[in-house]
Symmetry: C2
């Protein structure tokens, strides 16, 4: 759970002015216990609930991109037409349920890779993501 102060610091530390909109979006994203997996659309819905000042969709996109560049969120692999983002920025894996289009975290240590191939010449591994797609049993 992140206080407003912390959120403002987080924004300042990444050279993002703590505007009303960014603070509200950051609260929605980071002021929660569990990891949040979202798209621009779901974030927009979450943020533009009754009782809040309305935030334009443009700002949703701008802010998601800014938070991503700043490393506060990461984009997840899917083969959906929409981009999916994750408030869990640690390297980790996912279950993907195509029927609900929902992602679930798998902790990095829940997966043990006994053997992986060497990266091609001149390249090193930046990240390693496993997606386990599910189906009805």
């Amino acid at each position: 759970m992140q206080q407003k102060k912390e959120i403002i610091n987080k924004l300042r530390s990444s050279n993002l002015r703590p505007t009303k909109q960014r603070i509200l979006i950051a609260k929605k994203l980071f002021d929660r216990k569990e990891t949040f997996h979202f798209t621009a659309e779901t974030l927009n819905k979450a943020v533009n609930k009754k009782g809040h000042a309305r935030i334009s969709l443009g700002t949703i996109y701008n802010t998601v991109e800014a938070f991503k560049r700043a490393g506060h969120i990461r984009e997840i692999l899917t083969n959906n037409s929409k981009s999916y983002y994750d408030t869990n920025i640690k390297s980790h894996h996912h279950f993907y349920d195509p029927s609900s289009k929902k992602l679930t975290d798998i902790d990095y240590h829940e997966v043990v890779l006994k053997k992986i191939p060497n990266p091609p010449k001149g390249k090193k591994i930046k990240d390693l993501e496993l997606v386990i797609s599910l189906q009805k049993k």
Copy 2:
């Protein structure tokens, strides 16, 4: 390397009429030594080179979808805005180089998973894809 006959059989066996367009696309896709990773756009370019009868982009999309449904190609995980497809339909993994946006196959046996988590209740694993993103060393 697939002969025209084989290609026609492949189409027939999946209830796809072997039209001029489908045969040409299938040749481009399957009549080659290595795995082919492509998007609708790259396939369209490959197929609509000089010397060939022109195939509409609509047909490219229709055919890719039909081949995918028939199991002749599979869609790959990326976080690109375009859909990526693969002529390698065996379960396998990929290196992804964000700078070139190119995928490279990793044979299934090049990766050994020593431990994976149990799928949630009522679900089983349909597929398991690992993507290793690369960066300059």
